[in-house]
């Protein structure tokens, strides 16, 4: 392994493959389908990164935060565990199960912790988010890459299908699967830099480059988000967290902030709507994501697909019964769902939103 956390300052622009599968009834499937789907788009990756997010995989620990952490050194592990022990009650500590796979080598130490914060915190999620940021920017060679409840992110350097087998994803079942195959253009591959990027139960996979990165990062700093990784994907995750969780905006509105309609379109809207969108752009101009992207964002109850405002990257959506599919290419959907009810190309800036119909049915812990 070349690097683990040493490259935290590296910003990664990449071309990639993305897949998202969500059963909106909360029915779970194992990881083999998503692995098969992403492997169809092998051309779109170059073996320098692959990863998955899976929702609903830890029902027995559904009330606890599941931290997935990678370490480069024993010392880093000691440091991070000391810190976690002080601040959290740790229910369970274990290595993340993996299997030996040709092509996946020099892996970091991969551990997972099921934990909850000690003491009463008025805002538990903010507290956990700060912990993640503290470890990722403050402790060398330690990197928390998954920190949500009843969900997990699995990622590393390699082709995504190999990463999937490596993490034994066929042994997990989830109602939402999100996958990513990476084609980094200006970075040595490093495990932490693979997608999905996660914070709390957010996960983001992203194909594209965010040209507005500099201002998005400064804007987030205003609200206390420190971008430790300097990847544009991190910015997307934090923006979703800020706009959706903290500002309480619906995904429809969040999409209209991140991929804002043009002024010329706003001018043609009815007065109320025009007022609303004008205010939205005035207030959230610095959160506009500019540059080419297709992105899939997940949390416990949702999966959202979104393109940039002039659709410079591919994204296809399909439904079959209660299952929503998103992918860079239609072939990846038809591989696992040969006869979808509907297939369409979402328009620029038009979000595709999957929602869990009855969240209790899927043993998802309701979010505060």
């Amino acid at each position: 392994m070349e690097k683990l956390v040493a490259d935290k300052d590296y910003r990664v622009a990449s071309g990639c493959a993305v897949v998202g599968i969500m059963n909106q009834d909360g029915k779970k499937i194992d990881g083999s389908a998503v692995i098969s789907s992403i492997s169809v788009m092998r051309e779109r990756s170059n073996g320098l990164g692959g990863g998955f997010a899976a929702y609903g995989i830890y029902p027995e620990y559904a009330g606890l935060y599941a931290f997935h952490v990678m370490y480069k050194t024993e010392q880093a592990k000691g440091c991070a565990e000391n810190y976690l022990n002080k601040e959290y009650t740790i229910e369970k500590t274990e290595p993340i199960p993996t299997r030996k796979i040709m092509g996946i080598d020099s892996k970091p130490m991969l551990w997972r912790y099921f934990l909850c914060p000690r003491g009463g915190n008025s805002n538990e999620e903010d507290y956990v988010a700060r912990t993640v940021m503290h470890i990722n920017s403050g402790i060398n060679d330690a990197f928390v890459f998954s920190s949500g409840k009843n969900m997990g992110i699995f990622k590393g350097v390699g082709f995504p299908e190999d990463i999937g087998h490596f993490y034994r994803l066929d042994e997990y079942s989830a109602y939402t699967w999100i996958a990513h195959g990476r084609f980094p253009t200006n970075s040595v591959g490093w495990w932490g830099g693979a997608h999905p990027f996660g914070l709390l139960d957010w996960s983001v996979v992203h194909n594209g480059e965010i040209s507005s990165y500099g201002i998005n990062r400064s804007y987030l700093l205003n609200f206390g988000y420190r971008c430790a990784l300097s990847t544009d994907t991190e910015v997307i995750a934090y923006l979703f967290d800020l706009l959706s969780r903290k500002h309480g905006l619906s995904f429809e509105v969040v999409a209209k902030i991140l991929a804002a309609p043009f002024w010329s379109d706003i001018e043609r809207m009815p007065p109320e709507e025009k007022d609303f969108f004008t205010s939205l752009r005035i207030i959230y101009g610095s959160a506009l994501l500019n540059g080419p992207f297709s992105v899939i964002v997940g949390n416990s109850g949702h999966m959202v697909g979104l393109n940039d405002r002039i659709k410079l990257r591919p994204l296809v959506a399909a439904t079959s019964g209660e299952t929503l599919y998103l992918a860079s290419e239609e072939a990846a959907i038809r591989d696992i769902c040969p006869g979808p009810d509907r297939v369409w190309m979402p328009r620029a800036g038009e979000p595709v939103i999957g929602k869990l119909n009855d969240r209790r049915a899927s043993s998802v812990v309701s979010r505060t």
Partner: protein, 517 residues
Amino acid sequence: MAKRPVLQDFVVERDESRCVACQACVRMCSNDVHSYDPETNKVESDSAKCVGCHFCESFCPTKAINIKRSASQFRENANWQYRDIANLVKQAETGGVLLTGMGCDRPYPVYWDHILLNASQVTNPSIDPLREPMELRTYIGRRPDRIQWTVDSGQWTANKKQSSSIQHPASSIQSLLKLEIPIMFSAMSYGSISYNTCVSLARAAREIGTFWNTGEGGLHPDLYEFGKNTIVQVASGRFGVHKDYLETASAIEIKIGQGAKPGIGGHLPGEKVTGDISRTRMIPEGTDALSPAPHHDIYSIEDLKQLIFALKEATRYSKPVGVKIAAVHNVAPIASGVVRAGADYVAIDGLRGGTGAAPLTIRDNVGIPIELAIAAVDTRLREEGIRNQASLIAAGGFRNSADVIKAIALGADTVYIATSALVALGCNLCQKCYTGKCNWGIATQDPYLTKRLNPEIGTQRLVNLLRAWSLEIKEMLGGMGINAIESLRGNREHLRGVGLSDTELRILGIKAAGESW
């Protein structure tokens, strides 16, 4: 000691083979450089009086005149240069403070020329502004951190709720200044510039969809119709400030300082205070209009807060109230204080900002370059989490569209231009604005001179300038793969420095050329 001969800055060369002694130059020159001798039927020139405005050269019907720098040279001396000696001589003769006009002309580093822009290649497509929308619209003023409207089930029908987090009943979003391009005309008072210049600026602002600024000279009654595109100033002299003046404007700007003369107030020599000006400024004709150095009701930040809110109260919170300060060493904390005092925008005027009249030594030695000030202020406001609360307007020597786009990438919401606008109207930066003898009809009140500036043509030239710059800005934005100006604002990732020290790079918050993301 004998009286020293007057040093001459320029030499007027007359091509005798072309000159037909039509005497146009004699009539043109307000500095009486040219004179006609009927005995010889020749036009003579007294080069010592020439200020180098190039008006006669531009309009000589036979192209017989050529204005050059004085050929007379002193012995080379790196320490005692021509201008040092010339200025010393003037002071020895007059015992006065040296006056000048326009912005600092000393060779301090121009950081714009050490900053390079980015463009997309391969991984990120550039966007063609001729084929795709490219948005420059900018809003100026205080805005809340979050939208307070709730949206019902997919409908964009909004339920307006007044925010409780806003400390003061701030001006609503609807009152923000809407700019179609991120360039406004900076404050130049009626008095320092002519009526026709004001008209040209106001009309151009209206046509382009931006704003012009009255400066501290009040607003001529004929120009009230441009209120929707007008920012009015309230300066320490309070010239021309009254109810209608405040109500007509789209925004009010409290002028604390000016880049050309930080620490001192505006000076309008009595020669320029003619009839209409005295009425607009509400002062007697022919009196010097000298603004006090500080506002005598602002001796600290809380006093500024009172004035901001007095003006907001006076206009019933219907419009933004901004504050203009000069870029001085402590500009970042000062700007932070100004924002916290309730200003809806902070305008910062850098070292190279222009003036109609300022002491030479102050213009050339006080303040800091605008580039560093923008970066320092933007960084500071972001660190304090208050950058959203106010807009940042940068001023002071923007020469072209590249300077503008670099300023925006450093963190400015928009820029103010004034010198560039005057150059578009004919000015050649002779720096004699304070004499009131501007041959181009810009910085003068002499009716014989002011009529030389046709406001129709002036408007067209200013509109052309802004349009040309906005086209260039769109090209550069598209090249970076960005289609809305707000995505470049404060986006210093798109800037790289060349030939700068580590300290300068740190203050500018940019990487060195050659460093990737």
